[in-house]
Symmetry: C2
Subunit: 202 residues, 2 copies
């Protein structure tokens, strides 16, 4: 049976199985992929938060107060802060973006010298960002669907036929946020794969 003897730290074998090929594994497999995913997560959540955060549209709506009198034309503005689900989307993306920036600095600074506990903390926080972003996407999408189609059962009328530009921007923000959350999901997947590889090959 083949021996599993490893070299000492100074690179000298124990002198028994010199034929065993020793290949030094890099500390973090796929660290460039991690860097790309973290940058993507940062950019996508940043743009998603900005696109939703500046989303605003004013329309002149005809308003009938008394049937015998002509309609009044009043300006009505739709903005992201009118709906709690959109506020949640902006805040969640802002949190994820800030975290991505901090974790990017941390991961770059720690690099190969990174202690296990700190690396683990980053993975766990990545996982929490997945939960946060997916719930925000779900919330904003649910309200977006109501805005697009309305709901006759509760008599909630659709509004995207009036505020079309506002809705288009929101859809763009949602798509970016969804891609951003996939980046964080990718980061967790990558970390799991790396840990699994390390635990099974060591």
């Amino acid at each position: 049976m083949e021996s599993q003897c490893r070299p000492n730290v100074d690179g000298v074998h124990n002198g028994v199985e010199s034929h065993v090929k020793v290949v030094e594994k890099p500390r973090s497999v796929g660290s460039s992929s991690e860097f790309v995913l973290r940058i993507l997560g940062l950019l996508l959540t940043l743009i998603a938060a900005v696109v939703a955060g500046v989303d605003k549209q004013t329309k002149i709506i005809p308003l009938t107060l008394i049937k015998t009198l002509p309609s009044l034309h009043v300006p009505v503005t739709a903005k992201w802060s009118d709906m709690s689900a959109f506020v949640y989307l902006v805040v969640s993306n802002a949190i994820a973006c800030s975290y991505a920036a901090i974790s990017l600095v941390l991961v770059t600074m720690l690099g190969r010298r990174g202690k296990g506990g700190r690396v683990l903390a980053v993975i766990v926080l990545d996982l929490h960002m997945v939960g946060l972003l997916f719930s925000a996407n779900g919330a904003a999408t649910a309200v977006g669907v109501l805005g697009q189609y309305g709901n006759s059962h509760v008599e909630w009328k659709k509004v995207c036929n009036v505020f079309d530009s506002f809705c288009h921007h929101l859809v763009a923000s949602l798509a970016l946020s969804f891609l951003g959350s996939l980046s964080f999901l990718g980061l967790v997947l990558l970390a799991i794969l790396n840990l699994h590889k390390k635990s099974s090959t060591k």
Copy 2:
């Protein structure tokens, strides 16, 4: 410097460092915690899906067709299938519950003989359940908030003042679904901790 020589599979040392204490690690640390979390995930998502799936309330609502005539009293029913976000909540919890049952059988059957690839597949699927459940929770909560408070900006009136029992059941389902998603989050966290422990102690 101390040698890092490990024993062969048959337990025989290479005959150099017999003083090195060899402690056999269990294959999966915290497997009982995993079992409990998986059972919890199964039960919570099952009850959440059932509670939301049977949620239905009929109320007699006064309806005024012509102002000069007395109001008509018509029965109006609120049910989960009226709102796409609630359908998503029920379907997501049903998927997560079914997956929890299958994965429970798989994990129990595989046990210590489980191959690395299969164990990894279970962790990755657990992670996807986190994303699915958190997005469903977000969607249903966003619509639930609208049902509870309404939104004056888009003239969506609150409905929970009329369908109170329906809303209470939905809140219960949401709380259960949230706890269920925390169970899956716990499963992923546990898997990451186990893999990290294995990769650093081996």
